[in-house]
């Protein structure tokens, strides 16, 4: 396996790929929101809309053998990583064709084939696990990266602190990706951190760190490539703060009392899809036809995902007690 190059090669094909991936997430999640109101999807649903550039950019730097640990806001990560839209949606339907057999739901997407270790709904809870996955790699001398995504809200948790220290102390190959969207539910960053420069906090553990415009997919990709190749080379952790924004409510229950419409609009202007599209068109890397193409492909993918989820089946109730422990040979 050859490592991804440490630099971005922004040719036409790659531009199209980046845009395609971002639009996949966007359209997929718009459909999810719709399905939620139809009660096809239940529980908590956290949309990633507005933050697509982060997952798309970072994933470019990862290889199949790398691992991913994400949060409850992980549809985008799973999609870009290669978990099929159909299996993700079937999961949200609670069907056994879902990527977690319907046991996990939106917040707990898992996929062994792509080393996608969830979907963790305890804020901060994924960080120690990611650290441990990297510890296994270090002990087995495998030059792999474990990418760990989390929100800026997680930074206040003790588990953040303990994980950062362990990863730095033991020099473990973790790519910590902080998706700083300025809010943890309704709590603004300056109400949760005495030091609001998150990447500066990372540096205090002696971890190489960088803050990047998380609304710019190329910037994210460039930073992630640099980070991942540093990790592969040194075995040490790296911290990437991606400054981004969620356009939608925290979950489907959130009346968004804590922020102005104007603020949301301002950020929407800077939207990662809008901005990249504009740039790519202007630069002549992409044409209107590409956009139409992408939208058509994505629309079909989403439609197929819905069909797949609809056609999915319910695991028999008799199986309730499965997957609590290993099935024992009689």
């Amino acid at each position: 396996m050859t490592s991804p190059a440490p630099k971005v090669r922004l040719d036409r094909q790659h531009c199209r790929e980046l845009l395609h991936q971002m639009i996949r997430i966007r359209r997929f999640e718009e459909k999810c929101a719709e399905l939620y109101t139809q009660e096809k999807i239940r529980g908590f649903l956290h949309l990633y809309i507005g933050e697509e550039a982060v997952a798309v950019g970072v994933m470019q730097a990862l290889l199949p053998d790398d691992a991913i640990v994400a949060t409850y806001r992980e549809h985008g990560h799973a999609l870009v990583r290669g978990v099929s839209a159909g299996r993700i949606l079937a999961e949200m339907y609670g069907k056994q064709e879902g990527c977690s057999r319907g046991r996990g739901g939106s917040m707990h997407l898992f996929d062994a084939a792509t080393r996608f270790y969830g979907g963790n709904a305890i804020v901060g809870g994924g960080l120690p696990v990611a650290t441990g996955l990297a510890l296994a790699d270090a002990m087995l001398s495998r030059a792999r990266v474990t990418a760990c995504f989390f929100g800026e809200g997680a930074v206040a948790e003790g588990e953040f602190h303990e994980s950062m220290n362990l990863a730095a102390l033991w020099q473990l190959p973790v790519l910590f990706v902080c998706e700083n969207n300025l809010y943890a539910m309704g709590t603004a960053l300056d109400l949760s951190e005495s030091q609001t420069d998150i990447s500066a906090k990372a540096a205090s553990y002696n971890i190489a760190s960088e803050a990047v415009d998380g609304m710019n997919v190329v910037n994210v990709e460039a930073a992630a490539r640099k980070a991942a190749s540093a990790i592969r080379e040194t075995g040490k952790p790296y911290f990437l703060e991606c400054r981004t924004y969620r356009f939608r409510a925290h979950s489907m229950f959130d009346p968004q009392l804590y922020r102005d419409k104007a603020e949301v609009e301002e950020w929407t202007e800077k939207g990662p899809i809008r901005r990249f599209t504009q740039w790519a068109l202007e630069a002549g890397e992409l044409h209107e036809a590409d956009l139409q193409d992408i939208e058509a492909i994505v629309a079909q993918e989403v439609a197929e995902a819905v069909a797949f989820a609809e056609a999915g089946t319910w695991e028999p109730v008799a199986d309730l007690m499965r997957h609590v422990g290993a099935e024992r040979q009689p």
Binding site: G43, R103, G105, H108, A121, G153, A156, Y258, V317
Partner: protein
């Protein structure tokens, strides 16, 4: 009489307490600007300001410990841990400090702290967000554990909890927040006793919190079949109201415990043990319990429903106990 929701009842009682005593304040994640994860504290930030309706960072151990310190320092904090699922992160502070400081200090210090936590499953939130830990917490000496199951108790338990000189944990089942009832305001509730919510003679359904509604519904359906079920709402999980438990059993001589906790090591086991210890082992029928299946709660609706106690399950269990 006022018609209000469980949510409004809790809010009203918190507001009253804050108006009555300037030492009372509420702190927790998203209690302020967001309006409370379950909207319990909606509007209180505007009314009381950010000092007393205090949004915290995501730091369950830190702010719970800060509640303990503030309580010892003369305040009367209400700490909201958004859900009991996250309270595991604060358990060291709860068990090793809140529950022990009075004892370790030989009675010199005490911790008049109220912790409110949402609890329970049934909303398709999956394994990490569907724990029912109130019965489990009831194992810990030095704390009081409450499970308000009615709109009245959602309001009425706040003031006596704040008046308690020791830590009180109030587990609010999240499915109850939309329940409504006509209640008299202000509400006076005690935090010592169980309450009979329905009188009956053939069998006792002993329950609490989110399972009270199911038990009452089951009792209603059974009535149609000519079975008279008494429903006892425990209300207080620690210390248990043994007298009330024994009284209902003495009356009906048959009993089912309905409990949303996982079966093994559940509070229903404790109740069964006490019934035996207190001499009721010559009942007319074995004690039985209906708990959650011993599985991390699955997301899929049909599986989740199968994992939790249900009205049908209660009726079936009752029939078995009654030999019908």
């Amino acid at each position: 009489m006022t018609l209000m929701s469980y949510r409004e009842a809790a809010r009203g009682a918190i507001r009253d307490a804050m108006q009555a005593d300037s030492r009372v304040f509420l702190m927790g994640e998203d209690v302020g600007h967001y309006g409370g994860c379950y909207a319990v504290s909606k509007g209180l930030l505007e009314e009381f300001g950010p000092q007393r309706i205090r949004d915290t960072p995501l730091s369950e151990s830190g702010f719970t410990g800060a509640g303990i310190g503030a309580a010892m320092g003369g305040m009367r904090p209400i700490v909201e841990i958004m859900t009991c699922n996250f309270s595991l992160l604060a358990l060291d502070q709860i068990m090793n400090n809140a529950a022990t400081i009075r004892h370790m200090s030989g009675g010199q210090f005490h911790v008049p702290l109220v912790i409110r936590l949402a609890t329970g499953g049934g909303r398709q939130l999956g394994a990490q967000h569907s724990h029912s830990l109130e019965g489990w917490y009831a194992h810990i000496p030095g704390i009081r554990v409450l499970a308000p199951a009615t709109v009245e108790d959602a309001a009425g338990m706040i003031a006596p909890s704040l008046a308690d000189p020791d830590p009180v944990l109030i587990f609010e089942n999240a499915l109850l927040y939309n329940d409504t009832a006509e209640i008299e305001w202000p509400v006076a509730a005690d935090i010592d006793h169980a309450a009979i919510r329905r009188h009956g003679t053939d069998i006792s359904l002993i329950t609490y919190g989110g399972s009270l509604g199911k038990s009452l519904a089951a009792a209603e359906q059974m009535a149609a079949e000519g079975i008279s079920a008494e429903v006892l709402d425990l209300r207080v999980l620690r210390p248990l109201d043994d007298d009330a438990i024994m009284a209902t059993i003495a009356k009906t001589r048959r009993c089912i415990i309905v409990d949303e906790g996982w079966r093994s090591g559940s509070i229903s086991a404790e109740i069964m043990a006490r019934v035996i210890e207190q001499g009721f082992w010559h009942l007319d029928a074995p004690l039985a319990r209906l708990c959650s299946a011993e599985v991390p709660i699955p997301y899929a609706q049909h599986l989740e429903m199968a994992a939790l106690p249900s009205v049908d399950g209660i009726i079936a269990a009752a029939r078995t106990v009654l030999g019908r």
